[in-house]
Symmetry: C2
Subunit: 453 residues, 2 copies
């Protein structure tokens, strides 16, 4: 019978120290250790079948399961008394899921307090990112701020400068909405010729949660903000880096939230507890964590993190600045780089699509490197500026294949191939790479990252 | 300045051993210890104001925050290096949230392996229940089942009896959908005259998650189920209790899921890892955990847990059986029993509504025990058979008040007052109490559970 490789699931794999050197990439491609779905891919139930088969035929292979002791015999969990309720007053995942964790890329930065921990997209389902796996990008480490001591100041072009406690804020009218957050540097290494081996590292600075808080518009209104003159907002964080960003109010006034809730509970410390600015559609760096100040102004502030960082270096050496909206994008998460298919036959191919400009309208999937496209099923609800899960049937015939997904949003924008993006914006940028991702399936079933078209 | 009572937040409070005796209830009402929002309610920012005020006026009270050292002076987290990324490869809540946990009610059962741990609704936001706080109801304890050894058998009125591994199942076409799950016994003690003190214990056998798995209809189709004769499904669990339930296929065939995913990751062990039956709209006991067998049949099975338990004892001594759909219901979660308001002025009143028959159409809120009703705002998305979050503004004038919410679903069904339910179904049942919940606010601001109308 077929098996989930539970030993592999349970194994904690450290990211290699020399990650993102070419040797390390070759090694990761070979071993694909951080893929919890790998066992699932490797041991399909169609090993006995030859040629291309559909779902119906594949089921017949299950005749081999007759006589399986795992179903015929009583298992220990059917004959013993289990654990008590509230053994974990705050629960944790199964021990068999210990491999599905956030991972750092030691090759990317020298100091872990100014680094990234990526979300393991290859092992996730649906659109909600569990809080324990939400990606982190820290500029000077994270801190467990005492909410009793936290304050939010609102100043600038307002009638009343005000200072709010958490207590003050949480009595105000609140809203709850599901939105994605993506770091502007997500997929950044793919601008060059670095084919990062797994989707955790290519696209894992991406999460989607239900956020709760007071609408920014309500807060500004109550402070008497002058929104005729005041077109910009300065958002300042309370950590050591004092992360400070200009937000264009035209982009966010309709849906920005000064948020304390994330997926039903308070924000996690590494994601800004107790207060974070939620600016749907805008790159993650502007979702300022440990939010301590909002200033309304009439021009952009040109802070360090928008003058020196987070701008797009163009081929002519100049840089695009204030390019904060995350354009329409998608990626296949299963199967993806580092995973392996050993059997021909039926697969559910699954992925994520999103747009900083609204709803995803359609996702097409190609199995032949972009020559032919089929429209995928979108899971509901399809929400504005939120992840959308897509699924599509695929029968693998054992030949080499190149899998791609291409998202189209409600504005009509079509996710571009990497070649088009490079033609326009060169190869030296880090930010805002929303190119079509290609995963190559070799005839031996190995899946790897390739840069096509 | 006003404060969140962080010491109270951080304090872990054990449920009293004698919970649900009258003394214990009186004591809990008095102390309200398990309310993490209590500090927030107690210390409003309008202490200095007299009379009824709206949001705008209340803001002016913040002038007192001028000169606050918490905003004027640099805090330690602004001047030190924080913690590294991936300090927690799987994250956990802030230490300041340690009070927001699942709680057992020792008074309810003698054996913790056959008991309940309730979700702390009074401290949650939005509609998604974080997996760490999903309620648990165990019949013989929970077990961390090795997914490699788990099997699902499909038999009965099918052309092909089949046994699936997890590996087999996870290759099939999958869907992801957000649904609530509520135990049929939720709010069960309120049938009598027991006014359970907090919303965690009155309504906390309620959660809402995004579930991922193969549609039941796909699985049955592939096994060649005879759905003309086969109108019932027997679902059998793999734990020691062998929980076995009849499911009416007419109720669930459109949207039931054989699920492995919950909020993006694998199910938690206490919620059925690696496989659970998701039957939207149906009471929680039928969402069989550690699902090991599905049998298609042409009549109900009258298992122990539907003959002896989980039926509705009526005033005439007979019992309603197979009443599995959870009717339309709602509850105000903030403010709720055990919380306390010390200040007059503006409050965001927030709660949850749901229906096992479809979408919530409207929620009305009364502040005077049902004499007058106002329509609340519903947060989006409003999804079928999912929790819906509602919010409504309230200015408390300091007089005693009785807060109620009343939900109406898309079928036109209106959530009934407790008196109507008792007139029809008596006071000796445990199950399917969907009555309007009343919270009394005393003139001293104490909030308690009262049974009105």
């Amino acid at each position: 019978m077929t098996r989930i490789d539970t030993k592999r699931r349970g194994q904690i794999q450290q990211a290699p120290e020399n990650f993102l050197t070419q040797d390390a990439i070759a090694d990761l491609n070979k071993n694909g250790m951080d893929d919890t779905r790998r066992g699932f891919m490797r041991n399909g139930f169609m090993a006995a079948l030859g040629g291309a088969v559909g779902l119906g035929a594949s089921m017949n292979a299950l005749a081999s399961s007759e006589g399986d002791p795992a179903i015929l015999e009583k298992q220990v969990w059917q004959t013993t008394l289990g654990k008590n309720v509230a053994t974990m007053p705050y629960g944790t995942p199964s021990i068999y899921e210990a491999n599905l964790i956030r991972r750092e890329s030691p090759g990317l930065t020298r100091v872990s307090a100014a680094s990234v921990a990526f979300t393991p997209l290859q092992g996730l389902f649906g659109i909600i990112t569990p809080n324990g796996l939400h990606f982190e990008r820290q500029h000077q480490g994270w801190y467990n701020i005492d909410p009793e001591m936290h304050r939010l100041m609102v100043n600038g072009l307002v009638k009343h400068n005000r200072v709010f406690t958490m207590n003050d804020l949480m009595r105000l009218p609140s809203v709850s909405r599901i939105h994605f957050i993506e770091c502007g540097a997500n997929t950044g290494l793919e601008w060059g010729n670095v084919a990062v081996p797994t989707v955790q590292y290519t696209h894992g600075m991406l999460s989607c949660c239900e956020f709760t808080g007071v609408p920014l518009s309500v807060l500004l209104d109550e402070c008497g903000a002058d929104l005729k003159k005041g077109k910009y907002l300065l958002a300042e964080g309370g950590d050591g880096s004092g992360m400070t960003r200009t937000v264009n109010l035209d982009d966010v006034l309709n849906d920005a939230i000064v948020a304390w809730g994330m997926n039903g509970e308070m924000l996690r410390p590494e994601n800004g507890f107790p207060l974070r600015l939620v600016v749907p559609g805008v790159q993650g760096v502007s979702w300022v964590k440990w939010l301590r100040r909002l200033e309304v102004g009439d021009m952009p502030y040109a802070t360090k993190d928008e003058a020196v960082h987070y701008n797009d270096l163009m081929p002519d050496g100049l840089a695009r600045q204030y390019t904060s909206i995350q354009e329409c994008k998608s990626v296949i998460t299963t199967p993806s780089g580092g995973q392996q298919l050993l059997d021909k036959g039926f697969y559910n191919v699954s992925g994520l699509a999103w747009s900083g400009r609204g709803k995803v309208k359609r996702v097409d999937v190609s199995f032949d490197g972009g020559n032919n496209w089929k429209t995928a099923r979108l899971e509901t609800p399809v929400l504005t500026k939120a992840l959308t899960r897509f699924n599509i049937d695929w029968v693998w015939d054992g030949s080499p294949a190149i899998l791609q997904s291409r998202a189209i949003d409600e504005t009509g924008y079509v996710q571009p191939p990497i070649k088009l993006l490079r033609d326009a914006r060169g190869t030296r940028s880090i930010y805002h790479n929303n190119a079509i991702q290609s995963w190559k399936v070799d005839s031996n079933g190995e899946v790897s990252n390739v840069q096509v078209g």
